[in-house]
Subunit: 307 residues, 2 copies
């Protein structure tokens, strides 16, 4: 059975401190510590393209686990900040990694729900095509489109990438997925004239209202109760949104992961970056994951330990 | 079993004649009639966004067949010219069509191989998630990125969109798929600074060399001989590339479709536009389809009549 064998990630070393921007944006340290939960954001070097972040994540994965390139059947990149509008970034990654010609590749354009969607898309594609080894990349460096003067976005989003190895020798397998879209609200998170514009209040209200309902729906689909879940890994939109969702569901605080303090909201990479830790050396039998944001769009599933 | 139930398409009414541009580009009428096979290209109105082309294709589909919006489980858009870099165009289409909240949606970024890939991606995603009704849109209006002074591209590419209804009441089901990528050649078709640049000779040589091999590979995968195929629907890159592939495979001319005379190479919409005719009122039991281009990337499969 296909599932997640291992995850590699890459967070660029450069940081921009939010404490040093309190005056500029008229915010307090409490706002950083209690609301957004981001002390500093990670920023790529401008010479690092989205595909380069993927390569660095891959190198970190390959340092942990041997990957035979000739075995890779499919390579998927989730991004809304590709190197170029065309070709697809997956082709560039394919070329830079010198992957075999028979390796299928495509990009998925989704934001913060992208990793969860991507797990279902790549696994079902692999199953149907009888593939055994796949790489699911997430790389969406928002520094490309952030207006540094925009308080709503420039304190929040950090750059990072991750790669998830899908194979028939998994550590975790996925359960059933729930999905949803409210496309009529697509303007709430949009890139216009090369700049990201976010209606923070609308996006917050959407997540606070929709995600708890979706968690319940996903639990039902999987015949599970909240008490049976060991860890809840929500997209790291902000500390406040993760806390709000947890509170509405009355989840025990120790089961809910938040750890974007040092790098920020890394869009579709936020969940795999956390899973890399949660999947290894911990006693997590069932992990719940949920992504939500750009679209507006959301998706949830559970991960079940396979061995 | 899931498969293609029906296809709707939309080709904007405006045409730019290539015969009227022979002097400008220093070409002959023979070049138009015998090499590119495009007498005029279709051009969208600048007010028509990629999502709008999708809506018009959907309206043409809905005029042929009743689609209950509340039944639509997933909506996929294949494009490399989205309305915005984010959100995904599928969310915008979801909003404009007032689709239900439970409808999953995502974009796939692929070029001329996109429709064939998309068929496998959406069908496998639907099967795994137990979905019964899906819409696969292709909308990649290259007029957004064509430099009108560029002979290599501006005589060739036309604007169009298509939507393919995937359901458990199909006219045609798909066989096995073959795929490939040569990402190291990604610069051969690229959009830089908002303008499309194509190395026509390289792309031609790639297609002439790779596609015939892939056809043979796909036939083998499906345990079929070329003689058993009723129609070959290749991506309409140009008349010359379709003829070259057909000649190398020694295919009977009457089995090979070329019909881009009046609108040009419509990227990922070229195959579904032709299939809309080939699937209806004709005696085609087995149709071979193959897409190739941007990436460089290719994919092939067969369609088998289900009823």
């Amino acid at each position: 059975m296909l599932g997640i064998q291992e995850i590699g990630s890459y967070i660029p070393g450069k940081r921009v401190s939010n404490y040093e921007r309190t005056e500029k944006f008229g915010i307090t340290a409490d706002f950083i510590d209690e609301k957004i939960g981001v002390k500093s954001i990670s920023v790529r070097d401008p010479s690092e393209e989205s595909s380069d972040l993927c390569i660095k994540a891959f190198n970190n994965l390959a340092a942990k686990i041997k990957i035979k390139k000739e075995d890779v059947d499919v390579l998927v990149v989730i991004t809304q900040n590709p190197d170029f509008s065309l070709p697809q970034t997956s082709a560039i990654v394919h070329g830079k990694l010198d992957m075999p010609e028979k390796c299928a590749s495509f990009d998925i354009s989704l934001g913060c729900s992208g990793f969860v969607y991507g797990l279902s898309i790549i696994q079902s594609f692999m199953k149907e095509n009888e593939f055994r080894t796949g790489l699911l990349f997430t790389s969406d460096p928002y520094s490309k489109i952030i207006n540094p003067e925009d308080k709503n976005t420039s304190l929040l989003f950090g750059d990072a990438a991750a790669v998830t190895l899908i194979s028939d020798n998994p550590k975790y397998i996925t359960g059933k997925f729930s999905y949803g879209t409210t496309g009529k609200d697509y303007q709430d998170l949009i890139c216009k004239d090369g700049k990201l514009i976010m209606n923070g209040r609308s996006v917050f209200n959407f997540a606070a209202k929709t995600v708890p309902k979706d968690v319940v729906c996903c639990m039902k689909l999987n015949n599970l109760t909240l008490a049976e879940v060991d860890r809840f890994v929500f997209h790291q939109g902000s500390l406040h949104i993760v806390n709000t969702i947890a509170k509405r569901l009355e989840l025990p605080q120790e089961k809910v992961v938040f750890d974007a303090w040092d790098y920020g909201n890394t869009v579709s990479s936020s969940i795999p970056i956390l899973l890399e830790n949660e999947m290894n050396g911990k006693d997590n039998k069932i992990i719940f994951i949920s992504g939500f944001g750009v679209g507006l769009s959301w998706a949830s599933t559970i991960l079940i330990r396979a061995k």
